[in-house]
Structures are given as C-alpha cells and as structure tokens.
Amino acid sequence: MKDHKTFNNIFEEEMAVYQEAREFLKKGNLKFSDLMVKFDSLINQYCRLINITRRLCSISDVQSRDLKRKEREIQNILDHSDQGFLTFGKDLLIHKEHSSECIRIFGRKVVHKNILDLLRSENEDQNRLIADVLHKVFDLPPGEVQLSYINELPNLLKIQGNYINIKYKMISDDLDHQNQTLMVVLTDITEKRKTADQVLFLSYHDKQTSLYNRAYVESIIPQLQIESNLPLSIVMADLNTLKLVNDVFGHETGDKLIVNAAKIFLSCCRKSDIVARWGGDEFIMILPGANQEVCTRICNNIKSMFKTLPADPVDQSASLGSVTLNNWETDIISLIGVADRVMYNNKLIERKKTREMFVSSVEKVLEIKCPSYLEHNARVEALARSFVKLPGVELNSQEMDQLISLARFHDIGKVAIPSELLKKNTSLTEDEFKIIRQYPEVGYRMAHSMGEPLLAQSILALREFWNGKGYPHGLKGEQIPQSSRIISILDVYDVITHDQPYRSKKTNEEACQELQRGAGAQFDPQLTNLFVNNLPSLLS
C-alpha cells in the first residue's frame, strides 16, 4: 500500500494553505472582510492546484502512452523472437511469460506454475539435479560459484515432444542482490535438430535405397576389425543389365530395379549385418560372425530371391562375389577388393547367360506388346537364311551371322515403345511418329550394351533410305550396311503380307509391287530386284 505521506509532502505548500484556512475557520466570530481575504487566497490556490493537476495528468498520460508504446515494441520483439522468456525467483514460481513462445512450448499458460514441474522429464536423475541446483542458487551471491551451479543445469530438454534448448541467466534487480531472478530462455530446436539428423542420415545413407552408403562403411571399418567379429564374410554384389534397363526402359525403371535389389539384400541378411550401396549398381554386405557356410547360404538366398521377382519389365539378377576371413591377417579393405574381384569373375562367367536372360525377357515383353513379334522375327530370319543363298549375294560367315542376328533383333528397340502405339489401328500423329522413330536408336543402345557394335550399327541403319531420305542419319546408298539394306526389304515384305493392327495383309504380288515402287528410294534397287525375282524360291 502506498504511503500517502509522500503525496502530502509534494503538495506541502498547497496543504499549508488548506490547514491555515481550517484553523482560521475554527476561531469563529469571523468578520466578513477577513473571510473575503482568506476566500480570495483559497480561490487562487484552488486555481493553481487545478492547473498543476491538469498538467500533471497531461504529463502522466503522455508518459503512460510512451511507456505503453515501448512495452508494445518490446513485447512485439519478444513474441517474434521465436524464443520463450520466463523468469522466476526463489519460490520457483514463474513470474510471467515474457513471450508468447512460452505458451507454445509448454502448450499452456505457465504463470505461477513451478519451474520444476515445467521442466520435469522422465529422467529422474535430471529432475533431481534441476531441483538441487535451483534450490541452491538463490541463496548464493552472484559470482563464479553461483555460475558453476547454473552451468550444471541441462541445456537440452524434451518438452511436449519437442527439443528445447535452454539457457539460464541470473538477474539482480538491486545492488544488494536480495531479489535475484533467474531468467530462462527457451529455444525450440526441433526443426533444426531434424534437419541435422537428416543431414547426418543422408551423409551415411543412400538416398535412393535408404541403405548405408560407402562413406558409412568406410567410417566403421576400424570398429569392425575386432576379434569378436571373426569369422567375417564380405559379399559384393553387382546388378546385371542395369545399364541396359536404364538405356531401354529409362532410369526410372532402373531405379526401381536398384530399390528391389536393395530390399532383397536387406531381407537376406541378418540384423547384425551391414548392407550398403557401394556405388552405382554395386552393393556390399559385411557379415560379422558369418563363416563361409553362413555366407554361402545368404548368397544362395539372394540368388533365389532374385529368381522369384516378377519380370518388371524384365527379369533381374545380380552377380555375387564373397570372401570369408577367419583371422585379421588381412584388413577389411583388402578383403573388399578380393570379394570385388570374385564378383567380377563370376559376372564374366555369367555374362552370356545374363544376356540371354535379358534378351529372352525383352522378347517376352515384346511378344506381349506385339503379339506377332516372335513369328515375324522367325519369318524374317527364315527369309534371310534363304536370301543369302541366292546367287549374287556374297556374304562371308561373319556377315551371315550378323544378318541372322539382325533378323532376330531388328525390332528389339520396340520394347521401349508404348504398347498403345504399337497396337494403334489408326494413323499415327506427328508426335507419335516421333516416338516410333526412336526404336532403332533404342535397339542400337541395347546391342551396344550387349557388346555387339556391328549389330548395333545395322539396327540403327534399318530405317535409312537408299536415296538418303531415311533416319536417323540420312545415310545414302552403300553407306547403309548391307545387312540393314537386306533386312529392311525382308521386314517390309513380311509386314505387308501379314495382318497388322493398322491394315490388312496383302498378296505377294501386291507386296512385290510395293517393294518395287520403293526400289531406288527406300530400298537398294539391286537387292529389291533380287528379292522380287526370287521370291517363289525364297518362300519355298
């Protein structure tokens, strides 16, 4: 309660006039003239008092507005600082939430709540520490001892599921430090922590598969090299035909293959094993405590799992190489090198089989996309085998092999063309035609990836025209490989004489007329004549 004496003192002069007037009135028997003098003096004082009061009110109002403005500004800054500011004294009860962030962090108003209740967590040791420190610090004078106690308080707490960074600062409002206040500054670092965790995760994990990455494996190698991990096995795995899949079906499909493979490796390994993506299509599995038998079992499981995968769009497989270490005479890095070499050796051995598997998968896909694909290829191949026997066609054995391969694979690039386009029974739009025109290039890339550069060139030149108006490079005349010139005639003949989604089959005569019309333009005129003139014998 405010002592009114203070106010009486500042109105001492005015009070003196009032007291004098009262004393005067008490005397009684007053003359009118004396009263008038006193009355006049009172009016003057009253007027002065009104004036003083008016000015004081006015000054006070101005000061209040200024204070309020400053308060608003400070509050605004505090509320937008994304930090919670709390203060409390020796009774440990919160004085005030100095910023709105406090309410957000605690999920409620915390004024008059006990700070120990607010900071309480499941960690009982920590709760005891906070209580001990806070009960002691207010009895200590400011200084190093008090500061050392405050420094013991935890700086990171989980409040309402969020990570809160906490700073403590003792504030003294007076010189004798009797009224010390502890300020707590709370900063929600949950998002920052999540980002940091994510950065840490990404630095040690492969984003695509979520497996560990090479950096992680290299970082833990020293920790793995301990006796209790022996015997230790390492399996290196390389996905087969990934490049082909990427080239033919696009990287999205290739990525799916990588993710599927990662799932297989993870499911076949034990919880204690480390499965990581070593590089592009290479994976590593480190199997602590796994002898050769366990390692072989895991490798067999992986191979079996790959076989159970549905062809999406083609069958998948991986080449594996493993090595088991029974003592630490060799370090893990060298061991990885050994497993890698074993894997590459296996890959070479399995190469032919892998390619056959891939081609067979592609052909299966093509057969679904174009139901007559295999039959068409077989007929073209049969025609090619007969055609090379005609007098005037001089091919050596290598050229013959190439021609037969081309007959089989000339349309393989169509695997990348959407089924709707291949089965379309109306005219193609310009954009659709652009897509269709890509198939020789896809076939070229596939043949290249399979290690068949000559076949690749022939596939690429299948739609080149004798007159130079074909695609993709506008090759002319004998610039076009002979095998391509032959197969383009056989291919077109077979297409004309068999039903297609977009037109009905025609007779041999009609087909020959069509081919002859294209001789010298689309087709090699000499080879066209040879074909047309010998068609009966070729068909027989």
Partner: protein
C-alpha cells in the same frame, strides 16, 4: 555554495548543480520510491542558490522518463525559478528531447507551457 552532485541511479537522474558556473544539470529517468525525499534537498539547494543573487542561471534537463510525483517536484523547482525570473534574474532552460520520440517532446511542451522564462526544447 557547495556543488550539488548526485550520481545517476536506475530510478533517479544525475543531478549536477554547479553554483560556480551557474549551471544546473538534470539527466536521466526519475521514478524514485519517494520523490519528495529525493527532490527536497535539490529544491532547497536551488532556493538557497537563487537567494544568493546569482548573475545568471542556466539549466540543462534531459529527462527521458519522469513519474507523476517527480513531475510535481520539478514543477516546484521551476516555480522557484519563475519567481526569481519575475524578480529580474536571467534564466535560460534547455530541455533536451529525443528527436524520434514525440512523447518526450510532448511532455517537455507540457512543462514549457506555464513558464515565462526562456525555455527551449532542443531535439537531439
């Protein structure tokens, strides 16, 4: 007369009244627990100084915040100066205000209103 010097505190302004130079300086905030107790010796010093017939008196006030009771005390001080001015003393008061704080200026204007001696509001 002995110089009156009171160090500035959190709630009281610096007081530096130098009779030799005829310069009275008040600078800071004023919201003491008991304003009369703080200002009484100051007002008494001023009254005594004015009674000593100084040639001129210059005052420099920089008061960023003054509570209501302090305002009354300052009025008492200015009233004493006004009386001396009426009796022929040369007085000038310069009241310094923050040029970006309109409230400070408004407050100074309230004090300025009722006095006839030179009272300049200086924006800094």
């Amino acid at each position: 007369m002995e110089r009156l010097f009171i160090k500035e505190s959190k709630s009281t302004p610096l007081v530096d009244f130098d009779s030799d130079r005829g310069l009275l300086v008040l600078k800071g905030q004023s919201y003491p627990e008991d304003p009369f107790a703080f200002f009484k010796p100051i007002i008494e010093w001023v009254k005594e100084y004015l009674a000593s017939n100084p040639k001129t008196v210059s005052l420099e006030f920089t008061l960023t915040y003054i509570n209501t009771s302090s305002s009354k005390c300052i009025m008492m001080l200015l009233d004493a100066l006004e009386e001396s001015f009426d009796n022929g003393l040369t007085i000038d008061l310069r009241w310094f205000c923050n040029e970006e704080n309109e409230y400070e200026q408004e407050c100074a204007q309230e004090f300025q209103e009722d006095y006839t001696f030179p009272f300049e509001i200086v924006l800094v």
